[in-house]
Subunit: 156 residues, 2 copies
């Protein structure tokens, strides 16, 4: 029933081939690989958004404000991610000896393990995709995405 007489926006549900949709789906697909890998290694509580914490955390410790700035989100949002990770033992917050207002976020051993897994998985994904497309196409893909981003940045 209601077999559809004309589908507006995109040309239907089967294969939207819309470039933006493709980009999103490809991202989700690759991202899931990391999440699954972490879950398999016992880090199920680490969710995609937390990569922003580990990604921008230096090993000398980093304040929430700096993390927020680097990840381009508000301090509150970042603080929440850090609280979650602290509750599960992935990071600790210690007072900054140089600034009594500030607290430094530091990775625990457990947190370091997450970083290790991510460091192992991320290049593996890149490599997998490179094999899939071939080195030339992969380089072109990377370049083209950069081109799109630069164009969007400058027109914004």
């Amino acid at each position: 029933m209601s077999k559809s007489s004309r589908i507006p926006l995109s040309s239907g549900r089967e294969r939207p081939t819309n470039i933006a949709v493709l980009l999103r789906e490809a991202f989700v697909a690759l991202n899931d690989v990391v999440v699954v890998a972490l879950a398999e290694r016992g880090h199920a509580v680490v969710r995609p958004a937390h990569s922003a914490v580990f990604q921008y955390l230096d090993d000398t410790g980093t304040t929430v404000s700096v993390l927020a700035e680097r990840a381009q989100m508000t301090k509150q949002a970042m603080a929440e991610l850090v609280v979650h990770l602290e509750r599960h033992g992935y990071v600790v917050r210690v007072p900054d000896p140089a600034d009594r207002r500030a607290k430094l976020v530091l990775a625990t051993e457990q947190g370091a393990d997450v970083v290790a897994v991510a460091q192992e998985v991320a290049p593996a994904i890149e490599h997998r995709v490179e094999q899939l497309l071939g080195a030339d196409r992969f380089a072109a893909l990377r370049e083209d995405l950069g081109t799109i981003l630069r164009a969007a940045d400058s027109s914004a």
Copy 2:
């Protein structure tokens, strides 16, 4: 202060060049173009997620369940989007004459205008990107994203 001694995961904040991150950023950039275009035409309440509604809505009307199925989300999530759009006058829900359980979601004139804008903007974006990359590279990009998706699907 705390200039960072070594950044773990990716190689820093400036240009992560990580393929997944690039994909995400490119998607967000293109998506924003649509949202901005809609906002400029007075449809500020229409947000990215709502595209799923308009995209899969046939002009003969479609039930929430069907929309949810097409958009690959739960009925509840889709129902929420529809409620929001109904509250703002973009769609109406009328009883399905053929099924007394069901209600058909229909676009109002205002909703049709959103579709019109989207129909105008989406190809424009595609075209813009195509010009940016050249036809060959654009075709390759599209193809490569498809390849990634198929590979991810089959390995999942």
